[in-house]
Symmetry: C2
Subunit: 272 residues, 2 copies
């Protein structure tokens, strides 16, 4: 591995981000970490998410990454500032790229956000959107059952559609024209969400937007001839990660290694 890009997520969902980065930069080496022993992050406290995110970053720094992508929306919402305090490499979360993309496609500046409890409570997307366009109107809705539905692989199940309808029916009365899918699992449900919200609403996820940003950052580097190498680390269940990963990537993630997680010292000055 040569100066790989690091990506971490609470579990397997971040592979949607990995997939786009791989397409945009096919020659870059990438190291992925999925915290499958402590998934999900969306319902846990800010302090705990900061602690977990720092541990994940420290692990990836040990793999000599030159840039970190925080694929998990909840980590991006809660922990980016703390991560930046503890590292000198560039760190990119999913919030800003998602917000930028939403504003680039929205015509009426009325934007919806769906995500985990943590992501929605943090107000991070609102802050990012408002700082880019103070005039936009924002509507947000926590949709915590969507992650377990994806993990249960009930993607095409009628109950999934009903749950999405239940979550979004009031939401859709707000005349929004764009919805940010604020969780790495949601792109897997894009088709059924689109069916529920109708074709007049554009669904946005951060993965493509991040990939585009990275492509720009690397545009001055000479293009290598060889294809990138990929390593996937997980804190639990490498076999299950391979199965779900194959569904997301359309191919076996192959090089999946189990990590035994232990504590590392970090200065306890979180601003919570």
């Amino acid at each position: 591995m040569k100066n790989p890009i690091g990506i971490f997520d609470s579990g397997v969902g971040g592979l949607t981000v990995f997939h786009e980065i791989k397409k945009a930069l096919p020659h870059k080496d990438i190291v992925y970490f999925g915290d499958t022993a402590r998934v999900p992050y969306g319902s846990k406290s800010k302090r705990t998410i900061i602690q977990y995110s720092l541990q994940n970053m420290i692990f990836l720094l040990q793999q000599h990454i030159e840039l970190l992508v925080v694929a998990c929306n909840t980590s991006s919402a809660y922990a980016i500032e703390e991560l930046k305090k503890h590292s000198s490499i560039p760190i990119i979360g999913v919030i800003e790229p998602g917000a930028k993309k939403a504003l680039s496609v929205s015509k009426n500046r009325r934007i919806g956000i769906i995500g985990t409890e943590g992501t929605i409570t943090s107000g991070s997307y609102e802050k990012a959107l408002k700082s880019l366009d103070a005039q936009c109107e924002i509507f947000s809705k926590p949709t915590p059952l969507l992650v377990p539905l994806v993990e249960e692989n009930w993607i095409h199940h009628k109950v999934t559609k009903e749950i999405i309808q239940e979550y979004l029916h009031e939401f859709l009365e707000n005349d929004i024209d764009t919805i940010i899918m604020g969780c790495t699992h949601y792109p897997v449900l894009k088709k059924v969400i689109q069916e529920v919200v109708g074709n007049s609403i554009t669904l946005v996820d951060s993965a493509e937007s991040i990939a585009l940003e990275l492509k720009k950052m690397y545009s001055s580097q000479p293009i290598q001839k060889t294809a990138g190498n990929y390593t996937f680390f997980v804190s639990d269940n490498p076999e299950k990660f391979k199965i779900l990963g194959t569904q997301i990537l359309g191919e076996d993630p192959k090089n999946v290694k189990k990590v035994f997680f232990t504590d590392a010292w970090v200065i306890d000055d979180f601003d919570v």
Copy 2:
């Protein structure tokens, strides 16, 4: 606290077990630990569940418990033997009491089990039932969406009923007369599960059965005059634990403390 009983669970669900023990032994002090920073356990590997369960037990041993109740079905299914190797106090899981109770109510010896992926995969209920009655017929079904539905508080939602129907419709063709609710969250859904399966099927949970067993164990002890004291420790989100706990107990669990979790040394000789 005087020689308290210790109870641990992956989160808040074990309060259904706490509740029954408190009713059966109102004078005993009880210390409860809910691992809300790493919940859920049901989808994680055996090795990880053993590691988490040992850490939880070691914490409770530090609170000077004289007996440990493992309220979590997944921990009971995967980790009881390992826990017993590392402690000299009595340890009671939920599997055996649940199996005993099911056999005591079943007339046709055709018993269903619903639970998390881990609990069902482990085959622990089957083993316990077969060792008590080699003639009984057992049908098991993982129902992983039920925990998120309870945590989302969609207890009375029509989608919840549909999901339970979807999980159980084939299951019900097996002429079973008893179903073990093999997860501490499920008693919260007892009413809707009963509606789906009909009144000819008896729903069994381990909480009452464990409480009865403990009552027998303590029958020779002189009854104390004062009411028991209760302390609840959680690894994340004490406020959320109080809210969900109040729903389960019908009263505020009051004395809830946050635990900062760190690693402790344990001999790595798990038989996995």
